[in-house]
């Protein structure tokens, strides 16, 4: 059976034009997908967690849930982390679970675009949905982001080469500029590459902003970029009919972090006094935007939320997972839809290894290997349905294409079971 317009649950592009062929309950073909997406669909059955385990030993689902309830109800400062690669129903249950345990809730933004959110809370943001950019942008700047390797179909679907209402000629109708510390796949297809010194983004952004404001700077070069080039770039930006900056971790996770984004937002805001200009973060995980959205509408805050006082509190740097774990503050963790043991700094990963961890996973990962409880779950977007939010905030419904292995449930269902167990315990 052929499924059309299938949504890809991999990156923040959330491409929704895939064609997936299913035979006898197995995916046998994928069309329109990028390499990563194809592999996600075709290999979703490989390396799976085969059964729930407790202390490394196979257990029934009931035993694993009971053990999880025990760990969470015995913990003084439990951490619920991950969320960004699952659907919104599961995220909603995770919020409820963190609230019920008086724990801390965090998602992967704390190690990717958290600084983007901090900047937004400081100064705002001027953004648009991706179709708006496809239809109108004649100037596209990739700053510290490299879609040719991280968001493979971004350039063809939404930005560089896509044809749009007011850019019918596609690539020829757009000027593409890459600002990065080294040449990348994206810079090779760009009209211009501007090499900025590592950790020099803030200075370069502020120099551009000053130049756009008409302030003459005396420097000869800023962050390794000659002042002539800075002035020329400022003119190009002002002269665009519709410009956009797509920025990635090169900006959020280099020196300056949220201050870099603050400067980028300020530059773009300033440009709006001359022309139309926007900026958009290149979100990585396919539903990290959804994790922020759900957590925000339910608690007021996008990540790093503490429920220990019975009401939500927010403090990145304190309630963020890396900090909680590195300080040895969390005494238990529930991880879903993420692999922090691989991606966290070593101090935080060590902190995770020292405490009882419950992991909801499809695959065997470094995190699942150090967990006390592992519960296999269905893959959202392949074996379970639900909502995901694209990097620009557009919500799309993920489809269920095949049945999960018997006895395997969705993240939302498993979290629901743990939550029921916790409530049952509280009532006794």
């Amino acid at each position: 059976m052929k499924h059309e317009d299938v949504v890809c649950p991999f990156c923040g592009c959330l491409c929704d034009d895939l064609e997936v062929t299913v035979e006898d309950g197995h995916i046998v073909g994928v069309k329109n997908a990028c390499g990563i997406s194809r592999s996600k669909f075709m290999s979703h059955g490989l390396n799976r967690v085969s059964a729930p385990t407790v202390e490394g030993k196979e257990a029934s689902l009931e035993e694993a849930v009971r053990e999880s309830v025990g760990i969470l109800s015995g913990a003084r400062r439990p951490l619920v982390y991950g969320l960004s690669s699952t659907e919104c129903g599961a995220i909603s249950k995770a919020v409820e679970l963190a609230e019920a345990t008086g724990g801390v809730l965090d998602n992967t933004s704390s190690v990717c675009h958290g600084p983007t959110i901090l900047a937004l809370q400081q100064v705002g943001e001027s953004k648009a949905t991706l179709g708006e950019i496809r239809n109108r942008a004649d100037l596209i700047i990739f700053w510290g982001s490299n879609p040719t390797e991280a968001h493979l179909r971004h350039i063809t679907r939404y930005s560089g080469t896509a044809k749009g209402m007011y850019v019918p000629e596609g690539r020829k109708g757009r000027r593409i500029i890459v600002v990065d510390v080294r040449e990348t796949g994206t810079s090779k297809m760009a009209d211009q590459f501007i090499k900025v010194e590592p950790n020099g983004d803030f200075e370069l952004l502020e120099a551009l902003r000053a130049t756009v404001r008409g302030v003459a700077l005396r420097a000869e070069a800023v962050a390794g970029v000659p002042m002539d080039q800075v002035r020329a770039l400022a003119e190009v930006m002002k002269g665009a009919r519709f410009g956009v900056v797509f920025f990635g971790l090169g900006l959020t996770q280099s020196e300056g972090r949220h201050m870099n984004i603050d400067a980028a937002v300020g530059l773009v805001a300033e440009l709006n006094r001359h022309t139309k200009f926007l900026l958009t973060p290149m979100r990585g995980h396919y539903n990290v935007a959804g994790a922020n959205a759900v957590t925000t509408w339910q608690t007021g805050y996008p990540y790093a939320v503490d429920f220990s006082r019975g009401y939500p509190r927010y403090n990145p740097g304190e309630y963020t997972s890396v900090d909680m774990l590195a300080r040895g503050e969390a005494d238990a963790a529930l991880v879903l839809a993420s692999d922090p043991a691989s991606t966290f700094p070593v101090d935080a990963a060590r902190g995770l290894a020292k405490i009882p961890v419950i992991t909801l996973e499809q695959k065997i990962t470094p995190t699942s290997m150090l967990s006390r409880v592992v519960i296999p779950v269905a893959t959202a977007g392949i074996e379970a349905e639900g909502t995901a939010y694209r990097m620009d905030g557009v919500p799309i419904r993920l489809r269920k294409l095949v049945e999960p292995t018997e006895g395997v449930h969705s993240d939302e269902e498993v979290l629901g079971m743990i939550l029921e167990g916790l409530k049952g315990g509280a009532e006794k």
Binding site: V123, G124, A128, R134, Y158, M165, F277, T299, Y311
Partner: protein, 567 residues
């Protein structure tokens, strides 16, 4: 079957001509009925005011815009933290409350139905996900259409039939309740960083005017027989002198023939922001008398206030260029969010200051509109939450409308411009309980065409509020008591169940989402879809198949028919 009797209250049910009579309200199976069995649960409402559950027809409670507000304002949340309760979830309040808290706080004030005023079609799922997480109250959302590519295209082509098919299709696809228009043409121009100025300005790339967009949508709205009129945020919002644009805009809908039983053809939202006279923010004064004179002479218009509340709030509208202006005026943080093919939005925090002359005039304009429009059925109380201020301040607005002393005391504490540049000081009108019930439930329910809401007649939805104030003894000098009574309902009943008791939430049922199943003849539908699909495929960044909102997003739904057809 759950039954409930609200006994001996002074009942205000203006749609059924009941004005403070002492009577029993009997509820069974989620409806108002004639009789209940012995042993039904009883509420002793003696000495208290009983009204239908409140109906808010314009509030921003769900979707990407309010969620941007929540996201960008942790400092706002910190002032109003809400702990988890026995039956309630935790959250935050003030200007951008979390979804759970939104439901609780409306119910605590005796409100049982609230309409989200601006839903961008492509993010409709987001609106519905949040509405599903908003407990207790019934709700609905108005679909943004005034700057939609297809609207502009069909207006340009003069193709009213396809426009009609499009409006019907989009309401169904987004599960929307009404046609919302925000700064028609201006938001489209903003996509190039510009605006339109007035009704006859040029909408770039289309060569049409806001006037054409409004009249076309108003006509199509009535031909489809939608329950509510067009719901319009006028051009030139926030521009001193704009009262003239507002009057001209109202006049555009004058010759439109309304659907059968309705007499109105246009609802002008948060009119305070569009009732400014003077030529700049230094000499701004009230345009309310001129607008009221027009409204009093023209029965096709309804409006809501958008009352200003002093203090810090978060402004959010679908009017991107206006929010850009506000950012330029205030220098506060600014989020702009353009939506492909359809709409836009902006969010800017703002503080209304009592010592600021312009803000005090704005405060006065809202109240003045409410007092000068003679027909209480056509002017409704809102703060355009959270633009004028958070909805939790409604009880203060009620006090200002029902007590001249309340507003005199308020005026004495603010800039004297309110005395000089509005006519408020010479206005002695005070709303009666009945008029207040019209402005907050009966009138709004009627304007929305929500037949089961806003009244307590046989068969009405069993939504009611009991307020701890004795209308036979209350005097306007006791406005503080009134405020208290309306802040914390003695009882709120939703679908026959007591959800609030003594101002505390005691149950959190799921409220229904209302939407309108509008239809056009099959041939027209086919012809439209062919044209629509081709453009959709070329210009949208999602597939058409993934665009309409699925049933899964509406855990409880109430479908309304258009044009008298069955839904």
């Amino acid at each position: 079957m759950k039954e409930l009797a609200i006994r001996n209250g002074y009942v205000f049910d203006p749609l059924n001509g009941v004005d403070g009579e002492k009577m029993d309200i009997l509820l069974s199976g989620g409806r108002v009925v004639e009789k209940v069995k012995r042993g039904a649960e009883e509420i002793d409402a003696s000495g208290m005011a009983v009204m239908p559950g409140g109906v808010d027809l314009h509030s921003h409670i769900a979707g990407s815009k309010i969620n941007i507000g929540r996201l960008m304002r942790p400092e706002d949340h910190r002032r109003d933290q809400v702990p988890k309760g026995r039956v309630t979830r935790s959250g935050v309040g003030y200007s951008c409350p979390s979804t759970f808290v939104t439901g609780y706080r409306y119910a605590q004030m005796g409100y049982t139905t609230v309409m989200e005023a601006a839903m961008p079609p492509i993010t409709a799922r987001h609106v519905h996900e949040e509405l599903a997480d908003t407990p207790i109250i019934d709700k609905g959302a108005f679909t943004l259409m005034g700057n939609n590519y297809f609207t502009l295209k069909y207006v340009r082509d003069g193709d009213m039939e396809k426009l009609k098919a499009f409006v019907a299709w989009l309401l169904r696809a987004t599960r929307g309740y009404a046609v919302k228009i925000v700064n028609p043409g201006g938001v489209e121009n903003w996509k190039w960083g510009r605006n339109v100025h007035g009704l006859d300005g040029n909408v770039e790339d289309y060569g049409i005017t806001p006037r054409q967009i409004i009249s076309s949508l108003a006509r199509v709205n009535e031909e489809l027989g939608l329950p509510h009129t067009i719901h319009l945020h006028c051009n030139n919002l926030g521009v001193p002198g704009n009262y003239q644009t507002t009057i001209d805009t109202m006049d555009v809908a004058k010759t439109i023939k309304p659907r059968d039983e309705r007499k109105t053809t246009i609802h002008v939202v948060h009119c305070q922001f569009n009732a400014l006279a003077g030529n700049n923010w230094m000499n701004v004064r009230s345009g309310a008398p001129k607008i009221a004179r027009y409204v009093n002479g023209n029965p096709h218009v309804t409006l809501d206030l958008g009352q200003v509340i002093f203090g810090d709030t978060t402004t959010m509208t679908g009017d991107g260029p206006w929010q850009f202006n506000l950012w330029n005026m205030t220098g506060n943080k600014w989020v702009n969010s353009d939506v492909e093919m359809e709409a836009g939005a902006g969010v800017v925090p703002y503080t209304f200051k009592p010592n600021n002359p312009a803000n005090s005039v704005q405060w006065g304009i809202g109240i003045e509109l409410a007092l000068l429009v003679k027909d209480p059925w056509r002017v409704y109380m809102t703060t355009d939450h959270p633009n004028g201020g958070p909805f939790t301040h409604y009880p203060e607005v009620i006090a200002w409308l029902m007590s001249r002393k309340a507003r005199t005391d308020a005026m004495n504490a603010m800039n004297k411009a309110v005395m000089k540049r509005t006519g408020l000081i010479d206005n002695y009108r005070e709303y009666t309980f009945s008029e207040m019930a019209i402005a907050t439930r009966a009138g709004t329910a009627r304007a929305l065409g929500l037949e089961g809401k806003g009244h307590l007649g046989q068969g009405a939805d069993a939504d009611a509020a009991v307020y701890r104030v004795n209308p036979t003894q209350w005097r306007p000098s006791q406005y503080k008591e009134l405020e208290k009574a309306f802040s914390r309902a003695a009882y709120t009943v939703k679908a026959g169940e007591v959800v609030v008791k003594d101002g505390e939430v005691v149950a959190t049922p799921t409220g229904a989402t209302h939407w309108v199943n509008a239809k056009v003849p099959e041939d027209l539908e086919k012809e439209f879809i062919k044209d629509f699909e081709a453009d959709f495929r070329k210009y949208y960044s999602v597939s058409l198949r993934n665009y309409p909102v699925e049933d899964a997003y509406l855990p409880a739904q109430r479908v309304h028919a258009a044009g008298g057809a069955s839904p």
